[in-house]
């Protein structure tokens, strides 16, 4: 049966996408408003973008936010991957399950509680609130996410692969770097990007642990919202949306390129074998 162009499944799909994206495009549309509110579009202008680039504090906060997100997700990915390896290696079932449960509890416990406990903990230690406190807390709440992303990949891996490698005389380190890591790389990357997005848009935890002149984007925008959100924030949102679009697009093309390269290599090898 030939599919009609308006297949109901497609209609449903597009409807959902429309609902998800409409608010974002609405926001972006008004970032070009010559007026100052989101209620009437009075004309096209770049003025809110000009305001945004003149606002050095805002730009500084954007850079800091990206820095925190990248650095915390990188460190969390390293720690979380090693943690997932350790959990994978545990033989006792009850111990493995209890550690996994502890990991999951951190995932589901409300951000506000995590944030408040970090604040109390950091001040108890006498740590100055600021860059380091935000970084540490972001690493801490990102680790469980990374563990959850990497662990299924490890369980998916055929254990005979490791046995075969050791059988062929590979050292433990070689097994890890040549066999295990290449296999779980997709899991690690997913973990990294999940951690990155979590860190980028976290508000509740960050709100408690910022201080001494250091702030992230979500906290700043929330504080500014008291006077009604200025369209400068719309302009920033539009740029961030464009940035993530480029990031996703770039990632997709790199993947595409890599897999096609692999494909070509495999084809060449096969051609050689046939000869």
């Amino acid at each position: 049966m030939k599919r009609k162009w308006y297949d109901w499944r497609n209609v449903y799909l597009w409807l959902v996408f429309l609902l998800l994206y409409a608010p974002i495009f609405y926001l972006i549309f008004y970032s070009f408003n010559a007026g100052t509110t989101m209620t009437h579009f009075t004309g096209f202008s770049w003025q809110h973008y000009a305001e945004l680039f003149a606002d050095t504090r805002m730009i500084e906060i954007v850079l800091d936010t990206l820095l925190i997100a990248l650095l915390s997700s990188l460190l969390a990915t390293i720690i979380g991957t090693l943690g997932a390896l350790a959990i994978y290696g545990i033989k006792k079932v009850w111990l493995k399950n209890s550690i996994l449960s502890l990991n999951n509890i951190l995932m589901v416990s409300p951000d506000v509680i995590i944030g408040a406990s970090f604040l109390i903990f950091f001040t108890f230690l006498g740590l100055r609130l600021g860059f380091s406190s935000v970084l540490l807390s972001h690493i801490a709440f990102s680790i469980p996410i990374v563990v959850l992303m990497v662990l299924p990949k490890l369980s998916e891996m055929n254990h005979s692969l490791i046995d075969a490698a050791t059988d062929l005389g590979a050292t433990n380190l070689q097994v890890l770097t040549r066999v295990v890591f290449p296999f779980i790389t997709p899991g690690i990357l997913t973990g990294f990007f999940m951690a990155f997005t979590y860190s980028l848009d976290d508000f509740a935890v960050t709100f408690f642990v910022t201080g001494n002149g250091f702030e992230t984007l979500s906290v700043e925008i929330y504080a500014r919202a008291r006077q009604g959100i200025s369209l400068e924030v719309n302009a920033l949102s539009a740029l961030m949306f464009l940035f993530s679009l480029l990031l996703i697009g770039g990632y997709y093309f790199i993947e595409q390129y890599n897999s096609s390269k692999k494909e070509r290599r495999r084809n060449r090898m096969e051609a050689k074998l046939i000869k």
Partner: protein
Amino acid sequence: MKRLISFALAIIAFCALLAVGSSQLQKSQGASSSGTLTLYNWGDYIDPALLTKFQKQTGYKVQVETFDSNEAMFTKIQQGGTNYDLAVPSDYMIQKMHKAHLLVPLNYKRLHGFNHIDPHFRDQSFDPGNRYSVPYFWGTLGIIYNDQMVKASAVQHWRDLWSPKLRNNIMLVDSARDIMGMALITQGHSVNTTNVAQLEQAKLKLEGLMPNVKAVVADEIKMYMAQNEAAVAVTWSGEAAEMMANNSHLHYVVPTEGSNLWFDNLVIPKTAKHYKAIYAFLNFMLKPENAAQNAEYVGYATPNKAAKALLPKAVATDKQFYPSDSVINKLQVYADLGNRMVGIYNDKFLEFKMYHR
């Protein structure tokens, strides 16, 4: 593995780039650790041009950090780990902070220009003798109405809101103290009453208002009123000023029988360190020309009498935002009633909101 390592290296390189960029920006703003003053303020509540002017005059850089509620600010200052030199709490919160021993008394020998503050706004119940606080901005609770939908003469007093003509046409701001206070004033009681019977009466009075209430909303009230969604709303003067900027048919009234008078005030929290910079800043902000400039930027009413004289005539004589002395004398400031009493206010307000018409 190679791929992962190069990925990680790329991220680290990017991080380094970001760190350099951010520190460059900080330098361009003239940050230096020695002469920095940290101001803990509401979002967008000071003219940034004044901060650069202050830095040029005194050499101290002002770092502004922002909060969105008195309670959040209280928690962060109480918890410590921060070095806020000045904070801007509202009236009842000053009392609460004082009780929690979080405030440093002002040294009047180092403070110049306090005499510019209008005597009406000095020596309030939340801080007798202004031992701890310098008034920063003030405002009222009032009625905002749309002259296309309702006549001005029909909404001059709180009791007018109960008129059957306003059926399903009133929006209330979602704030227990304010709406309960409105009902209390209508019945001739104090907004700080601790008499539970009076509160119960106020609740019953409010339930009678229900047929007229279209919605009990928070910040959205600004947008709704600007879009002609309702004829009348009860809200604060600062919010009203913003709505009026977006819709010329809106007008604000402070009922003459009384209303709430609220203050935001500069205080020195326990976490303060840079006292020289603090007094330089307080004296700078008390100067009439600076206070006037700030009032024009923020759009709230300044308690600085000399600054008010410098404002454009149309602003300074606007009865909506600078009501006459006879009205001001009837205004009441909220006192900190303690957790138990605040709980009762909140419960009564909740009962009202759940009331089925």
